[in-house]
Point group: D2
Chain length 418, copies 4
């Protein structure tokens, strides 16, 4: 299946990373047993577009071991771990088309290869693969029985598609699961964003003015960890309820036009574009470091940055210096792509264990139920969410209380009051 | 309207407290202007059962000044501020039947007086008033056009009623509003629980083992503040998703049978009964302090406590010492009733400003729409939630970002990807 | 010994408070056993000026039970708990001259009574008693063998005295002990300041701009707890090292002239006077709440406040409203005196257990060593500090590691390197 | 001066890193101006043994530009950044003997080269260089006028030497400066330890049991940041005062024999050896990750680890897997050497800006005063500490309050009381 020549050392490193991750993903291990037993995915063809690194590899292996055929590529031109890709492709019987540091053209070429595979099920992250199936690759559309979508950004796109009647197969919102967005977006993004920033800059977080754009699940994870590292955190929001919440969580809340002044770091996590644009770039501090933790690389406007700069250079690995015409130098990490993946190692293993357990259970659910499912965005069933939560607690060796019979009765009863 | 003799000093103190609160409730002030302008509540008869203290008084005054007639009592035998009750009754043209330290019999007598008043609208907290209207006082039921319910516990009861077809008028879930449960339950209960505990005990929180039963909005507020005061916090839960969440928020999570061992404080906020019962009382530490922050006083089983004690005495104001037969002494604050209200001063003023703005807007909404509303639990319209959030931000002099046109368009568009 | 008539109920309440505190002061209980055994204080006359409330009462009882005669008054006109004073005076064989709410004249009268008693040893807090002995009451000076001083403020005064050669007996700096200032000033003041503020105002801390003047041990305790309650905390300092420290702890640091703008709360803990003065009062926010947690009531300039006001009134218990001539209303808690004592219940019991254990051990040390001690400020011996720490750990049932012999040897050895 | 062949790309990368650091070290820039002006170091020969990476390079360049001749090597076999070493050696007129990944023999060889240079002043970290001068290289001892020592561990060794009369020149304790140990040890180690751990493992910190051995300045920095990342933190200590402090900071405190059970991470920062040894290794969890943040690599006993293992392998970069004979696998990061340097990028730039400003000022002070200084460990003068604090505040554009004349007078006055 291997189409590329890999260095043996690269493969060996990838295998070690896969092993490290696999040994630390007990929930996915439990799913693996479940799928092997149920046989629901035997012979299924699954096309995957996910950040291709060790944890994703363990998901792909899980599906493979459950009997599915896999074609995998990355959902982002910069987020591939080439060693893991090599090991999957060369040693694991998985067709892996992801490469590190792709151009946009190469990126789309890899997506096309996954579509060429004619998948029954699609696992997507950001909905690029699903979108291509609905536009340039319509000939493969009818084969697809259903898809999972991993991220907020993708769900927004898919709901817009569904609202226009453009969506042609059922999609499960993995992101909608509590065990995904409460954890992956918050604790996952929270921690890994700092892995990316600290690795790239070696700069102090404590005492710095750290601006977080967006107080959704990702944004509050980042804000929480920025505070945990000692930063003076400022939050920007467009939703008044979230704004009050950020304020009562003890953060300063202001418009970006004010927040950007004097900022040492600005991190975006909004799912919207042009959050940092010309008007903000005009006023930001000399030496300000900017990074994006949202899905697409358009939250910080690179066109505006480039238009305002007289030159750019690589200041450190993953760190581009823009020398602005006004004499200031500002820095963009990982080319504005997901800083935790493109400059770090992605979410911690244990977080992806839960998210990817949901992915695998989601495909199993599609396989069993796709015929009854409308072509729209579906929430993942609550019992799968709970299944994952119980498996996660078990892996932590935690036992929690259960209601007594009297308590259950009481909670269903409305006659008992003061 | 005054049926009771009050001490002039009591009235004066109540007036001062009302004034203090009123000056610090800018959102409710904005609602007041809105209601005066709309005239929607002119002549309406409103029966209220809410913890009768200064902030509640300002809500009652708001409705009164909007043209409504008010009959008010407390929703809890121990939560009345007698000075405020006196001032409302004697000076503010509001029929106030709340008294401090009622027996259960007196409590129900006061509720009956509110029902005698034949209200058009009911504002309830815990649903005792609504329940009486549906059982012992059915003759007044037909007059009621709709109600608001303040609290999680009440909503649980009312949904159970509605599920059985027993609910006879529409009820708005104030608790369901983001601007209520995200704030009142979390930051309100969080802070005021410590006001109650610290006032009652003068004990150190830092370094103590502090057990919080329940990781709902109230429980996480308490856990967050307990940590903020330096405690070593342990959480108990029955919901596995919330349990994982508590754990990843850095709390120990265990069964109460383990958590109770060595606990210095145990606070319940579950909405369920018998959370602390015989089996736990057998193993708790000498000198353990227990308090309840849930709606009803049955979360810590007083029957079990009494059965296991050889004697009780008042150790300090609001603090009952139980001398257990096993030789230990344990302490129950505020007789197991809401510790923040019965031993403290209730939620901070600014929190109730938002919650009560929603109450007033809820009654206005009922007055305008009750004819189209089914006899079930309704969520409060999102735009009222947003209205309150915007008013709160304005009172804090905070301005937040708004989407540009390009951004709005982008968010409604699904064709733009990587 | 009782010179005053007390209400029986007052005495009973005081006895209950003394009992509550005593049962929660295990370190002082261990000191009590030690002193009874050593007999070092048998027959000694001890004059005490300490905030007279329950924990102080337990210290006085400890010394009394060790055989000393005690004459006690408060070290602050507003910090006395009258019930405890009554119980001590009427039932405990302790001459207690402290009264609640004294004028400055009455305050000094009470201090004089303690001096009339001709003490061998003095326990002081703020050094007013020691100062009087060196100025107006020199006739009693020669009798005094030594003293303890409790607080930073007092130590600053005494060192200034010693530097001028004016100090005539040895003084032990209790404040200098790690087990005092690391705990009492930080965790004690931190928690009890919020007890005082929340009781007095019922205002929300979360999201508010909370200014702490001073980042010494007290100030950092307050700042830490303000953050723990969700405030947006700003710190002011005059020491550049502490200023950098506050900043890297994540606090905004600025000059008071900037910090005061828009502040919701300002709390002083500097040991200096006029920290809030005319220039700051001119710019503070309408409704700003001010409180002092430093020893003397001159940190917030009351003369300036009064000169700038057209009227004052009691807005709530312990809360004075100043109507400024510029139309704003601002609030001073507890008349600018220690807010945790004058508007709260003072430090948590367990904190004072450690501080007062040091006081008792300090007097024992004086009794054994005063003849060899110079008339200057002495640090308390390290082994007494450690004794208290070990007793505190024992009371928490905590066991800690001990060095192995190899480790001890290693730490004394300089030859082992890389 | 260059003795080695370097790759041009390696040199270029080193130059970029030096430039990045240099642009972010404003305090050291201010020292540079001061030294150039004073000329105090012109022609001085300075031998340096410091972790050789970008920030150290900027210190070396500072001293070079002030006119000194420099011979530099690393103070740890694993902590060198080879690109920076190459750039310094090839392009910056600094003799740099540091190499990445030295054996102990190579390490000592490099130290010897620095001694061969016959330095007037020594800058040491851990005291290996100073120790060699006093033992195997005594012939160069008389030439040395004085030294700086950077770290707690080194100071402990040097004080032991001085106590035995073995120390032959004055040494300034840089570590003793507030602007060093309060910041470098706490915020520097705190942050960079997590840089090292997260880079090496990609594991989740939130919710994990994270044991910190030692609650000195380093340990409390690590504990603070572990909590900030959401861990459940347990602290071990041998000092009872620090143990109570850790407890009141909200951490569990216990003996290592208990703490190690169920630990997900154990990090040592004690300055002592064998903190994790056979008895602890017997009981630690499968998959436990261990790292050291103390100066020497003997805090976690590698001999014990090896004796108990049947095999070892490299699980990931900087991560060694030990397969214990009892069937568990445990992991040691960075071979037990300083995890923040050997597996991360060392302290954040801004922290080292302050520490190394003190180093440069310390050498200047030695140059001016060595003749009057005894052969012992000297604290750095308070005014240099304050100088650095003021320069740091200036670089942050922070202005702080200054005492008014009245306040200054008040603080020197002891007559003003209640």
């Amino acid at each position: 299946m291997m189409m590329t020549e890999y260095e043996p050392e690269e493969i060996a490193r990838g295998e070690a990373r896969l092993r490290w991750a696999r040994e630390r993903m007990p929930v996915l291990a439990a799913v693996r047993e479940r799928l092997k037993k149920s046989g629901a995915l035997k012979g299924a063809k699954i096309g995957m577009a996910l950040h291709t690194e060790a944890k994703t590899g363990v998901l792909a292996l899980t599906l493979r071991e459950a009997g599915a055929d896999i074609s995998l590529t990355s959902c982002n031109p910069l987020s591939t771990d080439p060693c893991v890709a090599a090991a999957l492709d060369a040693k694991c019987d998985i067709a892996c088309h992801a490469k590190k540091g792709q151009t946009n053209q190469e990126y789309y070429k890899s997506l096309n290869k996954v579509i060429d595979f004619s998948p029954d099920y699609v696992i997507d992250d950001g909905a690029d693969l699903i979108f291509m199936l609905h536009t340039k690759r319509k000939e493969k559309l009818s084969k697809v029985k259903g898809a999972n979508e991993e991220t907020t950004t993708g769900i927004v796109r898919l709901k817009a598609m569904a609202a226009e009647g453009a969506l042609k197969f059922p999609v499960i919102s993995i992101n909608g699961a509590d065990m995904k967005h409460l954890f992956d977006n918050r604790y996952g993004t929270g921690q890994s964003t700092f892995d990316g920033i600290m690795s790239s800059t070696n700069l102090l977080i404590a005492g710095r003015k750290f601006v977080v754009a967006g107080y959704g699940w990702c944004g509050r994870g980042i804000a929480m960890r920025a505070r945990g590292m000692g930063a003076r955190v400022v939050v920007t929001e467009i939703d008044p309820v979230k704004a009050v919440e950020a304020r009562l969580d003890g953060f300063d809340i202001m418009q970006m036009a004010d927040a950007a002044k004097g900022a040492d770091f600005i991190v975006t996590a909004t799912g919207c574009k042009d959050v940092i644009r010309k008007e903000h770039l005009k006023i930001i501090n000399d030496k300000c470091v900017m990074a994006n933790a949202g899905h697409f690389d358009n939250e910080i406007s690179k066109p505006d940055l480039e238009a305002m700069s007289k030159s750019t250079r690589t200041a450190r690995e993953n760190t581009t210096e823009y020398s602005l015409k006004n004499g200031k130098k500002v820095y963009l990490l990982a080319d504005g792509r997901l800083v935790n993946l493109a400059a770090g190692q992605g979410h911690p293993v244990e977080i992806m264990d839960m998210s990817f357990a949901l992915q695998a259970l989601g495909v199993e659910y599609l396989a069993k139920n796709y015929e009854e499912m409308d072509a729209k965005v579906h929430e993942i069933p609550k019992e799968l969410d709970t299944w994952v939560a119980r498996a996660a607690l078990k892996s932590m060796e935690v036992e929690i209380d259960r209601l007594t019979k009297e308590q259950e009765k009481y909670l269903n009863e409305w006659r008992e009051g003061t």
